[in-house]
Structures are given as C-alpha cells and as structure tokens.
Amino acid sequence: MLEAEQLTFAQPGQPLSYVYDLQVAPGEIVVVTGISGAGKSTLLDLIAGFLSPTAGALSLNGDDLLVLPPEKRPVSILFQQDNLFEHLSVAKNLALALPANDRQAKEKIANALDEVGLADYGPRRAHDISGGQKQRVALARTLLRQKPVLLLDEPFASLDDETAREMRALVRCLTDANQWHTLIVSHAKEDVRQLADRLYNLFEGRLNPEVL
C-alpha cells in the first residue's frame, strides 16, 4: 500500500500550500484530475523524490520513502514526453534500467519489448520512432526496473486516440500482472473512464475523492 499522509508542500511567499492524503493499493490504478496548476505534478515530484515535503509522511507498505533519494525510491515515472534519450537506440534506452554488467540484458530487453508489442524495435534510434512507440518503450523500461510504484504524468496526452487506447490497455494489463501501485495524473476523461479504480480531484491544493 502506497500511503501519503498530510504530505505537505509549501513554498515561502506562495499563499497556496499543498496537503496530500492518498492511498494506492497493489494492482490498483488511481487517477488524479484537476485544472492546470492545481498541483498535480507537485504530487508526483513529491512521491518520486524530486521535491522534499515540508511536512507529512510517505510510505510504501509501511516503509518510509521520504528518507530515500529519488534514485533509490521504488518508483518508476513516465512523463508526457522526453522519457527516452533520443540519441540512443531503443535497446540502449532500455538497457539503462539494468545494471551495466547484466549478462541477460539482451534477453530481458527483447522480452520487455515483446510485451509492449515492439519486438523488432531494439536497434532503432529513439529519435526515429513515433510518440506512441516512445511511450511504449518507456513502459517497457519500467517493466525491466520492476519498481512497485508507477507514476504517470499525463502519459497519453500527446498520443492519438487509438494509440492512447492501446496504451491504457497496456498499463492496465501490466499493473494487474505486476501488482503495481499505479498513480496517473491526467485531465483526460478517457483515462478516468477506462483506467481509474479510484478517482481524486485536486482543488486548491487538496485531494478530494470523487465517485466514479
């Protein structure tokens, strides 16, 4: 269980402070909606460790996450874009998720690519594949990392409807299979309709549960 309790972020000189209370169970997909600037990305940055909260607690299965630097947190994060290093090949981008001396790297990468439906894409340059494919590769990379928490920041916003639908199915499938705690920040109604197990609306720095 991923738990945020009174997770607070306040910046000096800014009137609005953010206080988050949130729970995500294994295998569950929680969607957070809200208008731009409501503090959606701040929430993800706090969980991923790019921002430090001014107060509150954050834990996974009872283990305190706040003491960990971003790179040590059990978290994978996917942005709307720029998830891949465009000058590297798809395979190399995936290899970044594995230790440099992993002997089975090739195999694991091939499997992961297969799972997201991009079996032959390893040698291609990240620069040369489509936006949807990039997001799939990024998902494949989270597969390789096997981190129990998956954070998605408007992941399908720049994809066409069809691709977005496929991606959503993929996220659902991977979350179920791996029992991930998946948190999606989005303002796309489709994301809510198709994916959300639970829904929060972020308004004036507070998370309000909404009925689906």
């Binding site: 991923a48 040590k72 994978s76």
Partner: protein, 534 residues
C-alpha cells in the same frame, strides 16, 4: 512549391542577410589590414633574421595540440564536478574560472609563478616541512600549465553552462532510473557537451598557437616558441613587413586548415531546458572524486588568481586609488568595455542566428570562419594594419584610437561570444522552429518572444566576455600614440615598465576584480531582464 523557394523568399531571409553582411564585413576588414600592410613599402634597412620556420611550426603545433587536449580534459572534469557539487560560494568559483582567460596574459603568468615558482607559495609550504622541490616551472610544461589554467577554466565555464541546459525532465528520468555516475555522464552529459567541444577546441587551439608573452616568460628560452614570436621579430627588429605578412599568412592558413573540420561539424542534438534548480548528487565515490577535482582546480587555477589578488590588495592599492590617472583610466576602460561588449553581442547574435537559419555545413562554416580567422592574425600585424588604414582614411590616429580599440577587441571576443550563444540558439531553434514558422514569427519578433527570454544567461556570459576582453590589451593601438588615452591594462604595463611593481600588482587585482564582478553579476542580471520582458 516549398522545394524551390527562392533564396530571398526564405523564412529567415533578414537574418541571413545580416549574418552574411557581418561575415563579409569582418572578411573585408581583414583583407584591408593585409592589403594596407602589404602596400606599405618600406625599404629594408638592415639584414633580416632567418628564423627556422619548420621548427617553429612544429613547436607551435605540438604545444597547441597538447594545450587543447589538456584544456578540454580539465574543462570537462571541472564542469562535471561543478555541475554535481553544491557549496557556499559556488557561483563565485564559477565566475573565478571564467576570469582566467580574459586576464592579461602576464597577470596569469605571474600568478602561476607566484604559486609554482622558486619563491612561490608551494615551495614555501614545502620548505616549511623541510621538503625540497627541485623542479622548475620554466619550460614546455610551464607554458602548458599556464595555458591550461587560461583555457581549461574557460572550457569548464562554457561546458558547465551546457550541462545546466539539460532539461529537468531528462534529469528526472535518469535519476528515477538510478543511473550510475558513469552512465549518467555518458547518457546525459556527454551528448550535452559534445557538440560544444569542437568549436571550443578550435578557439583554444588558436589561442595557444598564437600565444606570445606566456610562451616567452614561461618557455625558458627560444627553444619553446611560436610563429607569433618570429612575426614579431620581423616587424620590430628588421621591419621586414613582407616577411612578417608572409609568416602571418602561413599561420592563418595553417590554423584555419586545422580548425576547419571542427567548424564544419553539424551540431548534434542540443537541449534548451534548464536544470539549474535541480540537484542530483552522484554516489559517494564519485563525489569524492568531484571534490578532489574541484580542490585541485582551486589550487591550480584559483590560487594563481588569488595570488594576484592578494599581492595587489597590499600596500600599493591605496597609492594607486588616490591617483586621478587611475580613475581616468578606469573610466576609459569601463566605457570601452561596455561599448565593446554591446558590439560583440550584436555581432555574435547576428552571426549565430544566421548560422542557425542555414542547414548546409558550408554556409554555416562560412559564417563562423571569419570570426575565428581574426583570432589568428598577429596583434602586431593588426596594429600596423589598423594604423595604416586609419591614415589612409585621413583620420588622425589619436582620434580613431578609441573606435579602433572597441572594434578590435569586440572582434577578438567574438568567437568566445559565439561559442556561448550558438549552442543555446541551436537548441531553441530545434525546439521551436516549426512553431515559430507556423506562426510566422520572423527575425526580431522571434528574438524578443522566444530566444531572448530563454537565453538571458547566455547573453549575460557573452556580454561579460566582450566587456572583459576590452578591458584587456591595448596592443592593437600601440602605434597610435595616445599618451592621454590610457586604460587600466595600459596603466599596469606602464607601471611595470617603470619599476612600479606594486602599482602594477594593485591594478592587476583591480582588473581581476572587475572581471570577476562582470562574470558574477551579468549572467543573472541578463536572465532577470529577459524574464522581466517576457
């Protein structure tokens, strides 16, 4: 329809015209200088020295190549360390590293000697522990050390700026992937800096190839020399302008052939973000290495400059500060520096924006080459050429002096300013070109709305280079005969030539302080201004 758009109908036509006009103007100026010198028919009055040209070329090449390799290596290591570490006074250290290259060469040389010399701090420290270091700082290694201090610190400054433009999101992705320090460097840092390395290497190579006072002071004799010294002796000793010009042409062609490949390279994928606010320290081992690099750099680069500051802020300072001629020179230096900085920025932006609008490497090189070529023309030839040209135009040399100085120094700073601005512009261009085009944001509007707000810092650094270079040497107006007209560096050289070592040290430290302030204050100031406008 779009495949055959005539040249003058292209989207960035005004930018191209401005850039090409600047490049043509610089080329014409250089031609004028060479022509003016070659036309000056002076009967030879004494026998000529016959320098061993192949030997000089060989020595210059070896020295310049070593300097370039060392400086780039040191620059990368230092930029890497500075990018990862956070500590009190970091910004000041970053500014300090930028000052080395614009400080008068003799100041740096004396700083190196104050630290590493026989009577220097290191030896003093060693002998306090009754240790003896019998090495000498004089020789090829002394030249390399001084050159690496000058250029390595400069490279670090430029490369650090590149590292800070890695977009935050990329950094976050890499951090959440927990990349090891080595992988992080290869995946994130290397692509960000690699496109800056060729032009940076070209500048360093040219500077080292034509270095003069440092080579003579620290070289330990004529065994270590550059072509520039031979050119100097042709003019000064035998007044053989033809021979000097021929050698200058040899130097020009040789240097340009060497840096041409660097300029022909197309820039790789560059980013236009910022991750200055993000801090992701590497693991402990890497951090120890980074602190070690920083410490070494501070000792190697910082201390020589600190030695200059300390020596200058001694008893001589007050005596200098009460002299009206000091304030007059300071005022002149500041005015010339400011004018020159603005000119540098304008020319650099003109060239760099035009470069971006061309896809062909040939056109891009044609735009950059004149600026680099100017760097290779020996100061004495420049001085002669400007003098003769001004006379030809029937302007009294003393009246023309300030303008020549502003122009000459702005051109000198130009490659530096371009190397600061070009990567930022290229990155912005890649990202917003299509949007800008679809919105028909041409020339100035695009600059005002897109480029200027995103590159305030780079503009500040470019201005700082322009400003500080013009505080620098007066060599170019050596012949103009302007005893009324003096700047701080000139005052320093004068004091040095009249036994007044304390005065000279005081002025040198004032110069360094000015430079430090420029590099410390201008980038954030420009950033603030650019944001205020947007």
């Amino acid at each position: 329809m779009n495949k055959a758009a005539p040249f003058f109908r292209t989207f960035d036509f005004p930018r191209r015209v401005i850039g090409l006009a600047i490049a043509a103007g610089i080329t014409a100026l250089m031609l004028m200088i060479f022509l003016a010198v070659s036309r000056a028919d002076i009967p030879l009055s004494s026998s000529s020295l016959q320098p061993d040209i192949p030997h000089l070329v060989r020595m210059s090449l070896i020295q310049a190549a070593l300097t370039t390799a060392l400086s780039l290596g040191v620059g990368i290591a230092l930029a890497w360390a500075l990018n990862r570490l956070r500590f009190f006074g970091r910004q000041l250290v970053v500014s300090l590293f930028a000052t080395a290259i614009v400080a008068p060469a003799i100041v740096v040389a004396l700083g190196v000697i104050a630290l590493w010399g026989r009577a220097g701090w290191i030896n003093g420290l060693l002998s306090a522990f009754s240790l003896d270091w019998n090495g000498s700082i004089f020789g090829l290694h002394g030249i390399l050390l001084a050159h690496t201090i000058l250029n390595g610190a400069f490279a670090a400054h430029i490369l650090l700026a590149r590292l800070e433009t890695i977009p935050a999101r990329k950094l976050k992705t890499a951090q959440s992937l927990a990349l090891s320090p080595l992988r992080r460097f290869m995946v994130l840092d290397w692509p960000a800096i690699s496109s800056s390395l060729p032009p940076l290497g070209a500048i360093i190579f040219l500077l080292a190839f034509t270095s003069f006072p440092i080579v003579l002071i620290l070289g330990g004799g004529p065994a270590n020399q550059t072509l520039e010294v031979a050119i100097y002796s042709y003019v000064r000793l035998s007044f053989d302008l033809r021979a000097a010009l021929n050698l200058a042409l040899v130097q020009l062609v040789l240097c340009l052939l060497i840096v041409l490949p660097a300029l022909l390279m197309t820039p790789s994928l560059a980013d236009a973000g910022t991750s200055r606010h993000l801090h992701w320290p590497d693991n402990k081992n890497a951090r120890i290495l980074q602190w070690l690099i920083l410490l070494l750099a501070l000792v190697g680069f910082g201390l020589p400059l600190l030695a200059v500051l300390v020596n200058g802020l001694g008893p001589g300072l007050f005596g200098v500060l009460v002299q009206p001629r000091f304030w007059q020179a300071a005022l002149t230096s500041l005015s010339i520096g400011t004018a020159s900085a603005i000119l540098t920025l304008a020319l650099a932006l003109g060239l760099a924006t035009a470069r971006n609008s061309f896809a062909s490497p040939l056109a891009r090189t044609a735009l950059a080459l004149p600026a680099f070529a100017y760097l290779v023309i020996p100061a004495l030839v420049l001085s002669l050429g400007f003098f003769l040209a001004v006379r030809k135009l029937q302007i009294p040399p003393a009246d023309a002096a300030p303008f020549v100085l502003i122009l000459a120094n702005a051109l000198l700073a130009l490659p530096f300013a371009i190397s600061v601005l070009a990567p930022a512009l290229t990155a912005i261009d890649r990202r917003y070109r299509r949007t800008a085009r679809s919105l028909a944001l041409g020339g100035f509007t695009r600059w005002r709305l897109v480029e200027w707000p995103l590159m305030g810092r780079a503009v500040g650094i470019a201005l700082a280079f322009g400003f500080c270079f013009s505080l620098g040497d007066l060599g170019v107006i050596a012949l103009f005969g302007t005893s009324e007209f003096s700047t701080l560096p000139w005052l320093m050289f004068r004091a040095l030539g009249a036994y007044r070592t304390n005065d000279a040290a005081a002025i040198a430290s004032v110069l360094l302080l000015l430079t430090l302030v420029a590099f410390w204050a201008l980038p954030p100031l420009m950033k603030k201004l650019s944001h205020a406008r947007s």
